[in-house]
């Protein structure tokens, strides 16, 4: 058995070396480009809304931008274009709220065939679920740390 383990380790190391690596510089540039585009779009909507409602506070304005980006993402997902954008942009499309909206919308579309309750209902958060759970868990930890720092 030890022989087998040694063989496997050697093989895994060989495969690691042989497998093509993603060009990280290019991926990084694509992500930057896409992330920047989404943020600029957000800023554009923000400026437009502000020109109509100058009294709006920043927090409400931010919520409106989120709603717009989410709606656009869901529309693009429904028309089948979003996965192509994401293939190009990678984390640039995933990190803004667009990635989150896409993960829910794509599941909803995908599992509609299994019915509204046990399909869409049960599996809508199939991809987004882990993100939500982790998000809540980490924000709790950060909150506790913040609280302790505040006490000092």
């Amino acid at each position: 058995m030890i022989d087998k383990q040694a063989r496997n380790e050697e093989y895994i190391a060989y495969v690691e070396k042989k497998s093509p690596k993603a060009g990280w510089a290019i991926s990084l540039f694509h992500a930057f480009l896409m992330g920047a585009t989404i943020c600029c779009l957000g800023q554009m909507f923000s400026d437009i809304i502000r020109s109509f409602f100058p009294m709006l506070d920043l927090l409400t304005l931010g919520s409106w931008i989120n709603v717009i980006v989410i709606t656009l993402t869901i529309l693009l997902t429904a028309f089948g274009c979003f996965d192509r954008i994401a293939k190009f942009g990678g984390a640039g499309t995933f990190i803004p709220i667009s990635g989150f909206a896409n993960s829910i919308a794509s599941c909803a579309i995908e599992f509609k065939k299994e019915g509204l309750v046990f399909g869409v209902g049960a599996k809508m958060f199939y991809v987004a679920g882990p993100v939500l759970v982790n998000g809540v868990a980490y924000s709790l930890i950060v909150g506790i740390v913040y609280f302790i720092i505040g006490l000092l």
């Binding site: 383990q5 063989r7 496997n8 380790e9 093989y11 895994i12 060989y14 495969v15 042989k18 497998s19 093509p20 690596k21 993603a22 991926s27 997902t77 429904a78 089948g80 979003f82 996965d83 954008i85 994401a86 293939k87 990678g90 499309t93 995933f94 990635g99 896409n102 993960s103 919308a105 794509s106 599941c107 579309i109 995908e110 599992f111 065939k113 199939y126 991809v127």
Partner: protein, 338 residues
């Protein structure tokens, strides 16, 4: 049937492939082999409501077409063997219900086509049945739903990933009727696991299985690569076939000249499929169209087809277990005098 070694058998009866049919989807139909496929389906859903139904429809089309092109009717087929990638082999089960033929469902993931040939020809060798239908296939969208992410989910594929082929390959093999293509030998694979856990790197996981089966076959038949016109693996992809070449070179066999991989050759490099095709439909459709046609014309005289299958489930993979793989080898002879 003669046992040549632990894994290799030689068939004593002449078992002919009297018809083959390769049906593929649009993306495959735009690839380098487009002129060889018998039919290309342009609609991903084939007019059905779900991708699972579309996969079934491909099976219906390919099986009925292959029986027609063998100039037989459904009643002449004694046995149907085959499988697919869906859980519980649902696609094949529905097709078997539709055909109303005695049916043995087989699962060896992407190695199911050669497994079907092995089981089918063994049955024929017994003298029981005289015509056997073998069919396997897969559908990109149905497989993607079952194994990976929703289709519209935006994620980037790893550079070493592969693309499940939408396609079905079906053949009728027979002892009653003769054709110029025969199945003469086969080697049953052993499950091989070299510890790869990355589900995206199927080529690297499956290459050792192909190496084990192919080198054992060479040893047990006292032959080497030079004795064959073509050695084809099922769906190792570009990376996997490069690994196989390295592994075989270590064993002293040189695969540089007459070796191809069905998954590597089914797509063009610009079709964005990374390392190439995979799936039960990959070696099935490529064999039944491209390779079979060249065997029929006698351009290839001796061909080895080694379909490789990754036998993990999504559950074991999520639990961090490595991927067990298998490779079955079937030897074909073409241009035989009837």
């Amino acid at each position: 049937m003669k046992k040549l070694g632990k894994q290799t058998y030689e068939l004593s009866k002449p078992i002919s492939i009297i018809a083959g049919y390769g049906l593929v989807g649009r993306k495959e139909g735009e690839g380098p082999l487009k002129n060889y496929f018998d039919d290309i389906e342009n609609d991903d859903k084939m007019g059905e409501k779900t991708f699972e139904k579309a996969e079934r429809k491909m099976f219906y089309k390919a099986t009925s077409a292959v029986i027609r092109s063998a100039e037989l009717s459904k009643e002449d087929i004694d046995l149907y063997v085959g499988g697919d990638l869906m859980n519980q082999l649902v696609s094949s089960n529905y097709v078997a219900e539709n055909l109303q033929l005695p049916f043995l469902g087989l699962y060896n993931a992407c190695a199911t086509m050669t497994e079907s040939f092995i089981v089918g020809s063994t049955f024929l060798e017994t003298g029981g049945p005289s015509n056997v239908l073998c069919a396997t296939g897969s559908h990109f969208s149905a497989a993607e739903r079952q194994y990976r992410y929703p289709l519209e989910f935006g994620n980037q594929r790893q550079s070493y990933a592969q693309w499940t082929v939408t396609g079905v390959g079906a053949s009728v093999i027979s002892t009653k009727q003769k054709s110029s293509v025969r199945i003469t030998k086969f080697a049953i694979g052993r499950v091989t696991d070299f510890g790869i856990t990355d589900i995206a790197n199927m080529g690297a996981a499956m290459a050792p299985a192909a190496m084990e089966t192919l080198s054992t076959f060479f040893e047990e038949t006292n032959t080497n690569q030079e004795d064959y016109d073509l050695i084809a693996t099922g769906d190792l992809g570009k990376l996997g076939s490069d690994i196989l070449k390295d592994l075989m070179a270590e064993k002293g066999y040189d695969l540089e000249t007459n070796y191809i991989d069905c998954g590597h050759m089914i797509f063009n490099i610009d079709q964005d499929t990374m390392q190439g095709g995979s799936g039960a439909g990959c070696s099935a459709s490529v064999f039944n169209s491209y390779i079979l046609k060249k065997l029929q014309t006698g351009e290839f005289k001796k061909v080895l087809l080694i379909s490789t299958g990754a036998l993990m489930s999504t559950t074991t993979n999520q639990q961090g277990d490595s991927i067990p793989c298998i490779a079955h080898l079937v030897m074909f002879e073409g241009g035989v005098q009837c």
